[in-house]
């Protein structure tokens, strides 16, 4: 009997939650937006999603094989990265672009830094920005030849910037041009509610982010009372997607409670500045990447006082 007894140190019981269950929840939360994107944009969108996920699995596996490491695809995080990147692509993108983007995201942004949990910037966003810089023309082309409807190529934010009114209902339900996963606010919020209900994400970051961003725009734009403009800013340009699915990425967000709030405010202010004064309209990715870099600083400034050490 003595030989077979396990003597691992306490605690001897663990919660049922695991890393891959969390990742699975994120995938489930992204499904409504994914399905809507595929329904709106057709087979092309489906191909982008499937190819991105397969590329993610392959690049992580091959990287692990080359480095003679245990394969880590079981934690499902590479599928999340592949899926988020696919949802950030225009539907009629040449397929090589998501492939290159995913390889960059998985290999350069994540695995080279030590894999899951070790990357200091959000891999999917790094991949997206990499594609934006490298293939700007393709990444900004939102015309869709696949759909029955004919869309204009201007995104809602571009319309807003020119001072025109936009159709808010189309914006909320996702009848707009845009990337595969960002277009339907309703689908994204469904996913977000799921993540909050399952306590996968903390509401602190998305709420402070969105509130700060909208307050900033109301304060510094000359259209404070224009509801159409303000709601347009809220529901477009991937703010909802960014706030609930990318800014809440565990690895690249602060873990301190106060740090989460500071991080949300930083994101909101930067987004406001980029949107009001910047040249580019699609600014969320850059804002989150810049803020990712400031996370270690934010965390070290916001280490909470230990119980019984308050005010010391």
């Amino acid at each position: 009997m003595e030989q077979n007894i396990n003597v691992q140190s306490s605690p001897h019981i663990r919660d049922g939650i695991t890393t891959n269950l969390i990742m699975l929840d994120v995938i489930i939360a992204l499904l409504p937006a994914t399905i809507w994107g595929i329904l709106r944009f057709g087979i092309n969108a489906l191909i982008v999603v499937v190819v991105s996920i397969i590329t993610a699995i392959f690049s992580e596996t091959i990287f692990n094989i080359i480095l003679k490491r245990q394969n880590t695809i079981n934690d499902l995080s590479c599928i999340v990265t592949g899926l988020i990147l696919a949802l950030n692509m225009p539907p009629n993108i040449p397929i090589f672009i998501p492939i290159v983007g995913v390889i960059f995201a998985i290999v350069v942004a994540k695995m080279l830094f030590g894999g899951l949990g070790q990357n200091f910037i959000n891999p999917a966003l790094a991949g997206r920005c990499f594609c934006h810089i490298s293939f700007a023309a393709f990444m900004n082309n939102f015309t869709s030849e696949m759909s029955v409807d004919v869309y204009t190529s201007a995104t809602p934010l571009a319309i807003l910037k020119e001072g025109q009114e936009i159709n808010l209902l189309d914006l909320i339900f996702g009848y707009i041009p845009g990337t595969i996963g960002e277009i339907s606010v309703v689908c994204l919020l469904l996913g977000a509610i799921y993540l909050i209900a399952k306590k996968v994400i903390d509401i602190k970051i998305p709420i402070t982010y969105i509130v700060t961003c909208i307050v900033f725009i109301m304060l510094f734009s000359n259209k404070t009372t224009n509801t159409n403009y303000i709601l347009g800013e809220l529901f477009s340009g991937g703010l909802i997607f960014g706030a609930f699915f990318m800014a809440t990425d565990y690895v690249t967000a602060p873990i301190t409670p106060l740090g989460k709030i500071l991080y949300g405010i930083l994101l909101g202010v930067l987004t406001g500045i980029f949107r009001l004064y910047g040249k580019t309209t699609e600014s969320i990715s850059y804002v989150i990447l810049i803020s990712n870099l400031l996370v270690p600083l934010i965390e070290s400034l916001t280490i909470p006082n230990a119980f019984g050490r308050e005010g010391k």
């Binding site: 306490s10 001897h12 663990r14 939650i17 880590t72 690895v251 873990i255 280490i303 230990a306």
Partner: protein
């Protein structure tokens, strides 16, 4: 309802043994008494091999003020004084006694006394002589706790009946079966602290015990009960004091610093037994639970008994256990052998067919912050873990790592299944060594 911030909700499993009333187990032929069953200095053996000893006789004397007595729990003959393995995994000097099964007791054993006729000094001496230590798990010598610098500054005496560890039901059974002893024991403690109010604290998963205690103390003006939200680690001293009084203490403080005194229900009963019935601490109430047992039980076991004999008293194992724990699953010690004596901290023996941890897979930390949400001390366990892995003591101190109470909540909550708590246990010692070395170097320079 009273509670504290953060914490976790582990499985309960108390239903396995909560309805089993406490059964007295007959002591076996040979009993072993380690000289270290408490925090502080080891007790000194004051008997020799082949000496005859009586039930309740002091065989190991408290060595200095910060120590506790060890008593013989049977009558018989000392057959050896040698090192024996204890539950903690250490080999400790122990007195081995052969039981003559007569239970001849010391003079005065079992005589009823009224605590009101005793002076405070006499009460404390009785507690010390009886070898009483904190029976909640820490085994802090109780007579030291009862003599704070200024007894008049103590305004709360809390009786800890939270029993927040899963599976454990020994305190619950005592609250049900010896309700009166708890109230009387608390009255006796309150005699030492004229300005204090006594509060018996029970978690709300033990409502029947709470109600029984409430009606038992309803006629006593300075004793009341408090119902606490069921959450782990509610029974931790700092969490209990905060929940009931709103006062906070850190690692460098004692409860007395915030005017509180905390004693486990069984400690209070032991004080009552020693002071009012002249019966020193000779037994331990143990829960036997887990799926490897044929039947679960709550047992009244003489200290010094071999675990094997305790298990025989409940008809043994159903299957060979793959995991055994002395104490609760959150903070208890894993044991690999049953050839060990029951000591003052043996609150339970859990045995399982399977080790639920043998199949879990670790991943990298994903920084999800569940450990931060779980930590009752408001620490950042994942950052402490990263500092601990590379022996970065300065960073560990900056992160308030030394405040950790080793409750295991962070490890429990971690989805990456990282061994957080074991690292912090290591760091508690390693960081203190580091600080001592650093000080030495500085004085040399």
């Amino acid at each position: 309802m009273l509670t504290f911030k953060h914490g976790v909700h582990p499985i309960d499993k108390k239903e396995l043994s909560k309805d089993k009333s406490i059964k007295i187990v007959k002591p076996g032929k040979t009993l072993v008494f380690p000289m270290q069953q408490h925090i502080g200095a080891k007790a000194k053996p004051i008997v020799k091999v082949s000496d005859k000893v009586l039930l309740g006789q002091i065989i190991g004397e408290a060595d200095g003020p910060f120590s506790a007595n060890v008593l013989s729990t049977v009558s018989g003959k000392v057959v050896a004084i040698e090192n024996r393995m204890t539950v903690s995994g250490q080999s400790v000097e122990s007195i081995v006694i052969e039981n003559d099964e007569k239970d001849d007791a010391i003079t005065g054993y079992g005589i009823e006394r009224d605590y009101n006729s005793l002076s405070n000094e006499e009460i404390i001496k009785i507690v010390k002589d009886a070898g009483i230590v904190g029976l909640g798990g820490a085994c802090f010598p109780t007579h030291i706790k009862l003599t704070p610098k200024d007894p008049s500054k103590i305004d709360y005496v809390l009786v800890n009946g939270a029993e927040c560890e899963p599976y454990l039901t020994s305190d619950y059974r005592l609250m049900i079966e010896e309700t009166e002893s708890i109230v009387k024991g608390l009255e006796c403690i309150l005699k030492l602290f004229p300005n204090a109010k006594g509060i018996i604290c029970v978690e709300d998963n033990k409502k029947d015990a709470y109600e029984k205690l409430t009606s038992a103390c309803s006629s006593v003006s300075n004793i009341e009960t408090a119902l606490l939200k069921t959450k782990y680690p509610q029974g931790g001293e700092r969490q209990l004091i905060y929940a009931v009084t709103g006062r906070k203490l850190n690692v460098s403080m004692l409860p007395a610093d915030v005017g509180c005194l905390v004693d486990n229900v069984d400690t209070v009963i032991s004080i009552y037994n020693a002071v009012c019935k002249s019966i020193p601490l000779i037994r331990r109430i143990m829960t036997l639970s887990g799926d490897a047992f044929k039947e679960t039980a709550n047992l009244n076991v003489r200290l010094g008994m071999n675990y094997n004999e305790v298990i025989d008293a409940v008809s043994g194992f159903k299957v060979e256990p793959k995991k055994m724990i002395s104490g609760g699953p959150m903070m208890g010690l894993p044991i690999f052998s049953l050839d060990m004596p029951v000591s003052k901290n043996s609150s339970a023996l859990l045995a399982f067919e399977k080790d639920s941890l043998s199949n879990i897979k670790q991943t990298n930390c994903i920084n999800c912050g569940r450990c931060v949400e779980a930590c009752p001390i408001n620490l950042l366990p994942t950052r402490m873990f990263k500092a601990a892995k590379v022996d970065n003591f300065e960073e560990y101190i900056k992160l308030n790592g030394l405040e950790c109470i080793m409750c295991g909540s962070c490890s429990y909550a971690c989805p990456a299944k990282l061994p957080l708590t074991p690292y912090f246990t290591y760091m508690r010692v390693a960081t203190k060594n580091y600080l001592t070395n650093k000080k030495e170097k500085e004085t040399k320079a």
